[in-house]
Every structure is written in structure tokens, then in C-alpha cells.
């Protein structure tokens, strides 16, 4: 594989970064545009609406605060997983990666609980413009969390075999998975005040 795609574990002489990292950042750039379009839609819908509820009147701020802390913690465990590989400690990496996945699942369970509560009270995306954009933004973000769980679980279990043969490449993969995961955290850092507090 390394003969097919060059500079995946060593920096490219021109760019100074691995192609894997540059590719990941380009992917994240496209993600900025995806969420940017939805944030733009949110601003337009809110400024255009005759009345708009404060998020705290309809949504649970304590649950979302808890989830924010969960996601921030998972970002730390993710970067610690990468740091463990940089210190050549695979078992520590597995522990931190395991924690990251558990925290991500906790986030999804809490989000599911929030959704369930809304559906019980017959609040659906079709109920109002606020709920439409709320479900769209948090739903898309939730799918990103789920995607992160799948990728990270792969890197925890079968994917970690690469460590034995290509440790540098594996560390690079975890750094890229980390970049994605921190981006998911970053999006939530903005979603939380915009949807729940304002």
C-alpha cells in the first residue's frame, strides 16, 4: 500500500506534512462548508422569523452541558491516545481510545434520551422552524459522532495490528482520526450555545 500512495507516514518534501494529514485537513475544510451552510441557514431562518424561542425554554440545558463536558473529555482522551503512541505505549493507547469510544457512546445515549423526550411530547422537525433546524444540526452532528465511533473502534481493534508492522503509519492514522474527532468536538462547542443558550 505504501508503494501505491507515497508519503503517508513520512512528510512530503514540498508540503512538509504527510499526504494523509493534508488530505484530512482538506476533508475537514469541506466539513466546515457543510456545517457553515447550515449555520448560515440557521441565521437566516432566525433573523427572518417573526418570533424565535430561546433554546433554554424548549431544550434541556443541564443535559447539553453534561454532553459538552463529555465531548470535551473525549477530545482529551483522544489526544492522549495519540500521545501514548508517540511514547511507544500501545496498551495505554488502547485504554485512552477505549475511553474515547465510551464517552462518544455516552454522548449519543444522552442525545437519544433528549430526542426521545422530544418525540414523546410530539415535538418533531415538522413542528416548527426552530425544531427543524435543531434536529437537522444536532442530527448531522450526531451522525458525525457515530462515524467517529465506527472509525475509532476499527483503530482500537483490527486496525491496531498495523502498529506491529508500521508504527509510524499507525500513529499518523490516529493523528488524522484525532483531527476529525476534535473537529466534531469543535462543531459542538458552537452548536451548544447557538441552539441551547441563545
Amino acid at each position: 500500500m505504501s508503494s501505491l500512495i507515497r508519503y503517508i507516514s513520512r512528510p512530503h518534501p514540498i508540503t512538509g506534512v504527510t499526504n494523509a494529514k493534508l488530505g484530512t485537513w482538506c476533508f475537514l475544510a469541506s466539513e466546515v462548508m457543510l456545517f457553515g451552510a447550515l449555520f448560515s441557514a440557521y441565521i437566516l431562518l432566525r433573523t427572518g422569523a417573526s418570533s424565535w424561542p430561546r433554546g433554554s425554554e424548549l431544550l434541556s440545558v443541564p443535559l447539553a452541558t453534561f454532553n459538552t463536558l463529555v465531548l470535551i473529555t473525549s477530545s482529551v482522551t483522544m489526544v492522549m491516545a495519540w500521545a501514548s503512541l508517540m511514547m511507544k505505549d500501545l496498551s495505554k493507547y488502547k485504554r485512552y481510545m477505549g475511553f474515547t469510544i465510551l464517552l462518544a457512546l455516552t454522548f449519543l445515549v444522552v442525545k437519544g434520551f433528549e430526542y426521545g423526550h422530544k418525540f414523546e411530547h410530539h415535538h418533531f422537525p415538522s413542528t416548527s422552524t426552530f425544531y427543524a433546524i435543531y434536529f437537522t444540526l444536532t442530527g448531522l452532528h450526531g451522525l458525525h459522532v457515530l462515524g467517529g465511533v465506527i472509525v475509532n473502534t476499527y483503530f482500537l481493534l483490527p486496525g491496531s495490528k498495523l502498529w506491529e508492522t508500521e508504527p509510524e503509519q499507525f500513529t499518523g492514522r490516529i493523528e488524522c482520526a484525532g483531527l476529525y474527532w476534535h473537529f466534531v468536538d469543535l462543531v459542538w462547542i458552537f452548536l451548544f450555545p447557538v441552539l441551547y443558550l441563545l
Binding site: 512538509g16 506534512v17 482529551v76 500521545a83 511507544k88 499518523g172 469543535l186 451548544f192 441563545l198
Partner: protein, 102 residues
């Protein structure tokens, strides 16, 4: 970052913990401020300022942007230009869309 020594990584770990404490603290601050019932304009300014600080901390330290190569910055500058165009363009044509919403 690719060739950082174990000692350098240990120093990084201390920074990660400090950033985590700062992020948790700012999360609590933004929630407390939201209970103060500020006017919407002030609430938006405070909440988005805190979110920007938190986002910058994540990008700078967890995503290593503070020590990243120039090419990554150029990708991000280009993204920022398009992102701002995305936010500003609909606002300029907002009047027509407003009639559909209300």
C-alpha cells in the same frame, strides 16, 4: 510533531490537561452567563466569544495548529474566505427570503 521526543510529548500532555481545565471552566461560565438573562445582543456576543475562545483552544492545541506547517494554514485561509462568503451572501439577499419565512 512527527518527530517529537518522548520528553516533548510529556510536556504536551501537561498542556492538554491545562486546556481541558480551561475548556471545562469556560463551559460552566457560558452556562452561568446564560442564566443572567442578558439582552439577546449581549448574550450572543458573550456566548459566541466564549465559544470562539474554546474552539481556538481545541484547534491550536488538540489539533496542533499552533505548531503546524504553512500549507495547512493556507488550506484554512481559503476555507475561511469561502465560509465567510457563505455566511454573508445569504444575508445580502435576506430580504427576499424573509418574505418566505414569515
Amino acid at each position: 510533531m512527527e518527530h517529537a521526543t518522548p520528553e516533548a510529548i510529556k510536556r504536551h500532555v501537561k498542556v492538554y490537561i491545562s486546556v481541558f481545565v480551561a475548556l471545562a471552566f469556560l463551559t460552566v461560565v457560558t452556562v452561568i452567563v446564560s442564566y443572567l438573562k442578558l439582552s439577546l445582543v449581549y448574550a450572543i456576543i458573550v456566548a459566541l466569544s466564549i465559544a470562539t475562545i474554546k474552539g481556538s483552544l481545541v484547534a491550536a492545541y488538540f489539533m496542533h495548529l499552533i505548531s503546524e506547517k504553512k500549507i495547512i494554514f493556507w488550506v484554512l485561509v481559503l476555507t475561511l474566505v469561502f465560509f465567510l462568503a457563505l455566511l454573508i451572501t445569504p444575508a445580502l439577499t435576506g430580504l427576499e427570503i424573509r418574505s418566505y419565512v414569515s
